[in-house]
């Protein structure tokens, strides 16, 4: 079942963030929310995760929605090593299955060698990979991502996208990915939703039909979509 937001109103300190927002987030797809910084993208994730409640309007969830979150910063416990950090969120899984699960996702994120390392011993990109492994190791069906690639250099980003795709297509969880970077949205999003400034309106929705493994910045349909996005945003 899709996640469906209808007629959402939300004010923060008299600042109207959402004024009758309607949005459908399809199941098993990556929805990229593209918009200027500070427009309310993180607020949208907080509404979906239930951290905050809308002033009015409804959000329809699948019956058993379990969320995991990839934050802008990795948010790892500094006193736990890589596998302990992942183990930390797996309290609901039986002990014998946990190790197997941790190992699987560390392998997917190319981190097995570093499982005993503490966060302070890892680079920024590696820490973010741990954070991604944690989000996928957690038995969720929806993944919220709040600009998780911000501040990483392009090579690192492209490598992370590749790893993300491999890990994601295993069970194709619904993913909502917030970004202000057009390229990130083009390469990762199956659906790209362009937000306006506050109060947020959906300016346009694009379907990115190019299969993931063909999505490069040289691909003609991606280039075409990029052009449309630039025209819309400039």
């Amino acid at each position: 079942m899709d996640i469906h937001l209808s007629n959402i109103n939300f004010k923060y300190n008299n600042l109207i963030i959402f004024d009758g927002l309607n949005l459908n987030i399809p199941k098993g797809k990556v929805t990229a929310i593209l918009g200027p910084s500070g427009c309310g993208k993180t607020t949208l994730l907080n509404l979906i995760s239930g951290v905050i409640k809308p002033d009015s309007g409804t959000i329809d969830y699948p019956e058993t929605q379990i969320l995991s979150y990839i934050f802008q910063e990795p948010r790892l416990l500094p006193w736990k090593n890589v596998s302990e950090n992942i183990n930390y969120v797996l309290g609901n899984i039986s002990r014998d299955k946990r190790d197997e699960r941790i190992h699987h996702y560390l392998e997917k994120m190319e981190l097995v060698k570093f499982s005993n390392y503490y966060p302070r011993e890892l680079s920024g990109g590696m820490k973010q990979r741990v954070s991604i492994a944690r989000a996928f190791a957690y038995p969720s069906n929806t993944i919220l991502m709040d600009e998780p690639f911000k501040g990483l250099d392009l090579n690192l980003k492209l490598n992370l996208f590749k790893l993300f795709d491999e890990i994601w297509k295993e069970d194709q969880r619904t993913a909502i990915f917030v970004t202000h970077d057009i390229h990130e949205a083009l390469l990762l999003g199956d659906q790209i939703v362009v937000f306006s400034n506050r109060p947020v309106k959906i300016r346009r929705k694009f379907d990115n039909t190019t299969p993931y493994n063909e999505r490069t910045l040289q691909n003609s349909s991606i280039l075409q979509l990029e052009k449309e996005l630039y025209t819309l945003l400039s």
């Binding site: 951290v51 979150y69 416990l77 500094p78 930390y88 969120v89 302070r120």
Partner: protein, 259 residues
């Protein structure tokens, strides 16, 4: 590395110079005053110190004070952490405890000792006083520590539905270690001072304070100074031991040292 080492050595030389200076001034002052009852010279105090240490009930006197101090400290340490956590997590609890800790903080030690003398058995008075004097320090440090716990880690734990009990053990307590450590080493100093003061007044059978009072009653000034020296040593040693224990626990559990 060498430079730092050199600097440290130079620093410890200065401490040695300062100790020597104190001894010289002390010696001269005692020569000028020329009355052992007012200021005995250092060598007499050292002699008295050796005399005290070699007496057969020396260990009874020191161990009893040590036990009382550690008992008071342990009670305040545990209750300070528990109540500090409660106050840090709930503002109601904080407001409930605020007047109590403020009163304890500003009550003169002597009033607490005198009241304890009325309320408790003599040998328990120093424990109570030690506890009451050190509790607000540990409690205050824990409350302050909680306000510095990384909010984004708590938010992460909430999103991943981590139970509060697990959050306390895995996020709050490790973040509090430096605050607990600082509070504990501050309060250890206060504990010895107040326990010994309480012993002077409550006169339990054995104790450094009891011995100090006996020496004072007979005007054996060198013994008063020798017992004072023992009390200082006890305070310094326990503080170092405590730091070592904490350092070992920290290193083992968290794999890194805190700021």
């Amino acid at each position: 590395m060498n430079k730092v080492k050199g600097r440290t050595n130079k620093g410890s030389w200065f401490s040695l110079v300062s100790i020597t200076l104190i001894l010289i001034i002390w010696k001269f002052a005692s020569l000028i005053i020329d009355a052992d009852i007012i200021l005995p010279p250092p060598e007499i105090v050292i002699k008295s110190l050796i005399n005290i240490i070699t007496k057969k009930n020396f260990s009874d006197r020191v161990l009893n004070t040590l036990f009382r101090g550690l008992a008071g400290f342990t009670i305040s340490y545990i209750s300070g952490i528990i109540l500090g956590l409660c106050s840090g997590l709930s503002s109601r609890c904080k407001f409930l405890l605020q007047p109590i800790t403020s009163i304890i903080r500003s009550t003169p030690v002597i009033s607490i000792i005198l009241l304890a003398l009325i309320w408790f058995k003599n040998s328990n008075v120093p424990i109570f006083v030690g506890f009451l004097m050190s509790f607000p320090i540990i409690y205050g440090n824990v409350v302050e520590g909680i306000s510095t716990v990384d909010k984004v880690l708590l938010e992460m734990a909430n999103i991943y539905k981590i139970k509060l009990k697990t959050q306390i053990i895995s996020i709050y307590l490790p973040s509090l270690v430096p605050f607990i450590l600082a509070g504990a080493s501050l309060s250890l100093g206060v504990v010895w001072k107040s326990v010994i003061a309480a012993e002077v007044l409550s006169q339990p059978k054995w104790g450094i304070g009891t011995s100090l009072n006996e020496a004072k009653s007979f005007l054996i000034t060198e013994e008063v100074l020798a017992w004072t020296f023992i009390a200082i040593l006890l305070s310094v040693l326990t503080e170092h031991l405590f730091r070592l224990i904490h350092y070992l626990i920290q290193g083992k559990n968290y794999g890194h040292s805190f700021k």
